[in-house]
Subunit: 225 residues, 2 copies
């Protein structure tokens, strides 16, 4: 994975003066709104497997917040004449059989999977949204930034990883698999929807954002990327 | 399944003058709150498989509403000195491997499964809640009654069932399997937590409520019970 560079930060894209095409705006709305629907399901499924009521309730609340987020994204998009439901539909299924290929063996693996896969999806969405014109850019970035995922993952994972070298090694391997699969999916999504990448949010920048995000997230958990 | 009788209606239990024991109150709070957490996950999983954005968004909203419902149940319980999280914990996992044993082959089977299994769980919870003292009784019944499941199931299923005799026959068989499994689970839950059934919400009344609910729900979809 690449070293951090200033250009790999999503924020750099906002300096772009290339206006986004309507096709790009619509596609980015679709991916961001789709990410909210997927978050609803992912967090709710994780809630069902949570070992404590505290984690269960946290994840349920995150799931419900993703639904409210979908509605806010749809509202912001509608104000720009974009139908979020129509755009979301195009991306339904584009995360494919990710879940079938990556079945967590236990709760720590499940949390690592959700944290890394969703973290990367959020990084990806933020880099895309950052290239859009205001006020849509700000609305989508606000929505994506409002994530309790990092705090939950830290709470559920960091003490256990710090206390158990074997767990840390196993989760490090697992995390690399998750990152590899998720990056493959997102790169494929870019290939199938080339209109997503435009201006400063080029395919190359997106790659860098994802690579750097993966490194940061693995390290944040105390795992070796 | 039994013929409808006035006594099989959950409402009849409210005439009970036997006060509920604290153990019953706590256990019923646990089952009702647990049903909200399970609803969050079930609806969110169904949303992910929905064939249309309209159904996807409806189910996401139902999932989020179940989360808000959990919070309201917890608040009403706290006002009576009952910790809903602690009580819920006791029931986590009590629906067991229901999902593994009943894998829907397609969207209509998925909707029939959710509608019948959750419908029966709601009937069960309402009959239990109906035996509690006010104001908890009213709070829990209001929460359980606020279900959009019936409307969604009608919209998604009834036109298809009316138009296709083969589908109706297949879903009729499937529905009977779902009802059988779910009733078995709820009866087992009663056996494991005998404090749930008390006063007018006796095990016998609960059986009748479930049987009648199953008949009504199958018939409501146009399926032969």
């Amino acid at each position: 994975m690449s070293e951090p560079t200033p250009e790999s930060r999503a924020g750099a894209a906002s300096t772009s003066s290339t206006p986004s095409s309507p096709a790009t705006v619509s596609a980015v709305v679709g991916v961001v709104a789709y990410s909210r629907t997927v978050a609803c399901t992912r967090y709710a499924k994780d809630a069902d497997k949570a070992p404590t009521m505290a984690a269960r309730v946290s994840l349920m609340r995150m799931s419900a917040a993703a639904v409210a987020g979908y509605d806010r994204v749809a509202e912001a998009a509608a104000a720009q004449g974009v139908d979020a439901a129509v755009q979301t539909q195009r991306f339904v299924g584009s995360l494919g059989d990710f879940d079938e290929r990556l079945r967590p063996a236990d709760w720590p693996e499940r949390m690592v999977k959700t944290y890394l896969a969703f973290g990367l999806l959020i990084d990806f969405c933020m880099a895309l949204a950052d290239g859009l014109p205001e006020p849509l850019r700000g609305s989508l970035l606000d929505e994506l930034a409002d994530e309790h995922l990092g705090a939950l993952a830290s709470r559920e994972l960091v003490p256990a990883i710090d206390a158990d070298d074997q767990l840390a090694a196993r989760l490090g391997l697992w995390g690399r698999r998750v990152v590899g699969e998720e990056m493959g999916l997102l790169v494929r999504m870019l290939g199938q929807h080339p209109e997503l990448a435009s201006g400063a949010a080029s395919a190359e920048v997106l790659h860098q954002v994802l690579s750097q995000g993966a490194v940061n997230r693995m390290q944040g958990l105390g795992l070796r990327g």
